[in-house]
């Protein structure tokens, strides 16, 4: 520990020697405060004393994301061997190896490009590096399909950090979730690499081109299959069967051994993360519960409408698929872009879940609609806050008048 401390102190001293290197202070400071508690103290009277700060909060979210990351690595490999029909011969080590080779470079690229932008802005504007990117850098690879090229990850990350966050003045000021901005940007800029049937399983497209695929191997996600079943009733029976007892039954969907974006497939791992976030008080239980209720209500309404294989899928099963759980736990609860008032959080969460399932099921173009729904909820959040606050003001004014 002492050894590390010395390194940072020396680095600070070296930078401070010359005027020209002084502006690189944020670089060292960022790593320093990540490892050690910052040594600045409150100068005026403080009202709340707490050991936690923004960096520690972000770290907790990253720890909560680790189950999703590890499972995502395993599942990426698992899906790879599944479409190649080699599940019997491949060991779990093979699967982790394949998955790690796909996922870890994406994590590294995302962190490198994002932090590069953060450092540039910090040095240019002369402030310390904002901590906000620590979580976004992990979320961005986890909400990408396995086969997305690395340069796209880098471009999307840079776009999201600059346009989504830095132009607003950095962490805490942005209006849209940074990771979702990155994903939405790629989704609309490079739709062929972000949706469809080819991108979700690593190695699928190559094997298909080479003709090495066994019969019946599919790279589509569960939601992609459902959209197909809705559009083409002749496929409906077969697809419906795979949801009753097969590749996509409730257990598989819950555990997450299904194709999808890297981190989003497993509802179980998301719930473990949610447990940690709720226990430590980092995520708001109001948003998580109301988001779930919103999605459940919409899915139940469409259950009642019925009429095709997609709408007939039980509501609870519907919520286990795609990015619903992942978005609910890690994206919607982003404290910056969510509503700030307690009543507002209920409305915000409900709106997000409700619109999410609506877009997913009614709009055939976007089966992965949760991302857009959370962005829409983000856009509505300031207005919700405004309404809540002004209604509070009105209520209290009334009380004053009565008294």
């Amino acid at each position: 520990m002492k050894f590390l401390r010395n390194i940072f102190d020396n680095a600070h001293a070296t930078l401070n020697k010359k005027e020209s290197t002084k502006k690189f202070f944020p670089l060292v400071d960022a790593i320093d405060t990540l490892v050690f508690t910052p040594n600045h103290v409150t100068k005026k009277g403080s009202h709340i004393r707490d050991a936690i700060d923004l960096k520690r909060t972000m770290m907790l979210v990253i720890i909560a994301l680790i189950p999703c990351l590890l499972f995502g690595i395993y599942n990426t490999g698992f899906q790879h061997y599944r479409v190649l029909g080699q599940l019997d011969t491949a060991s779990w080590l093979d699967m982790i190896g394949v998955g790690a080779l796909v996922v870890l470079p994406m994590v590294i690229v995302s962190y490198a490009s994002g932090l590069l932008v953060e450092f540039i802005f910090a040095i240019r504007n002369g402030h310390t590096v904002h901590e906000g990117f620590l979580v976004s850098g992990m979320l961005i690879p986890l909400c990408m399909p396995a086969d997305v090229p690395l340069w796209m990850v880098a471009v999307a990350t840079i776009f999201a950090v600059v346009i989504g966050k830095e132009v607003f003045g950095g962490t805490g000021m942005n209006i849209l979730n940074v990771a979702l901005t990155a994903r939405a940007f790629l989704f609309f800029a490079h739709p062929t690499k972000m949706s469809g049937n080819l991108v979700w399983v690593t190695g699928y497209e190559d094997a298909k081109v080479a003709g090495n695929l066994p019969d019946g191997a599919s790279g589509a996600t569960a939601l992609g299959d459902l959209v197909q079943g809705k559009a083409d009733p002749s496929m409906a029976a077969e697809i419906g069967a795979s949801f009753d007892a097969g590749q996509y039954d409730l257990l598989h969907s819950f555990v997450g051994l299904i194709p999808g974006s890297i981190g989003e497939t497993s509802a179980l791992m998301c719930l473990i993360g949610a447990g940690l976030l709720l226990w430590t008080g980092v995520a708001s239980w109001r948003i998580i519960t109301s988001f779930f209720v919103g999605g459940f209500v919409m899915a139940s309404i469409l259950n009642l409408v019925g009429g095709n294989v997609y709408f007939d899928l039980p509501a609870i099963h519907q919520l286990m698929l795609g990015g619903f759980m992942f978005g609910m736990v890690f994206m919607a609860t982003d404290p910056v872009t969510a509503s700030h008032t307690n009543t507002g959080k209920f409305i915000y969460g409900f709106l997000g879940g409700f619109i999410g399932i609506l877009i997913r099921m009614v709009n055939p173009a976007y089966p992965e609609g949760i991302m857009l729904a959370i962005l829409i909820a983000n856009v509505f959040a300031p207005l919700i806050d405004h309404m809540v606050i002004s209604s509070n003001i009105k209520r209290r004014l009334k009380r004053v008048k009565v008294a």
Partner: protein
């Protein structure tokens, strides 16, 4: 049911701001506070709801080819039924819009002088707001079979515009204390926010209703 579809489609899917970027000038100018945004949004809803059905009547009974046949009861291109006045549509629509806007201005001045002061020049400028003329021209293009459809279309477009301007006003109120880089402050930031909101609202594109 058709009317509900028209409403949802015009308010969310074909939103005047996020899908067509119509009516941007007043959208950017009055969206600094929620209160003025609500006021102007209401005015736009009112003007659209009144002018689009009026223009629908003019379009269907005066301007279209053969629309004037009711004057002398002629058919097949003889007499009045042979007239095609659609080249007059721009000027007619603008005239209707301008007179309705005058009406709105008088109403607002009478009943809410404070709002009248806050909106300033942007209230009479609704007359040249492209969302209003755009609404009328889309109405012409969409060929609504009856006046109810046109009215609901006007209401939907107005509500969509209202929603957009109130949303961005709330966002701009929230980021008032954000440390935005100097050159971007004000309108630059409003453009960026509109773009990001448009990105989110792309989720409604292609709804199958």
């Amino acid at each position: 049911m058709d009317l509900v579809k028209i409403f949802i489609k015009s308010a969310f899917v074909d939103n005047m701001i996020f899908a067509f970027f119509f009516g941007m000038c007043s959208y950017l100018a009055v969206s600094k506070t929620v209160k003025t945004a609500v006021g102007l949004g209401m005015a736009v809803i009112f003007v659209l709801v009144v002018t689009i059905p009026l223009n629908w009547l003019i379009e269907n009974f005066v301007l279209q080819e053969g629309a004037l046949s009711w004057v002398d009861g002629s058919e097949n291109g003889e007499g009045f039924s042979g007239l095609d006045l659609s080249y007059l549509s721009f000027i007619m629509f603008i005239a209707v819009i301008a007179s309705i806007v005058q009406l709105v201005e008088m109403i607002v001045e009478k009943f809410s002088p404070a709002l009248y002061g806050a909106l300033g020049i942007f209230l009479p400028l609704i007359a040249v707001n492209c969302a209003i003329l755009g609404g009328a021209l889309f109405m012409q293009e969409k060929q609504f079979p009856n006046i109810a459809g046109a009215t609901v279309y006007g209401l939907g477009s107005g509500v969509g515009w209202f929603m957009a301007v109130v949303l961005i006003a709330a966002i701009r109120e929230r980021i008032r204390y954000a440390k935005i880089p100097g050159p971007l402050r004000g309108v630059g930031m409003a453009f960026l926010i509109t773009g990001l909101m448009g990105l989110a609202f792309l989720g409604f594109m292609g709804f199958e209703i």
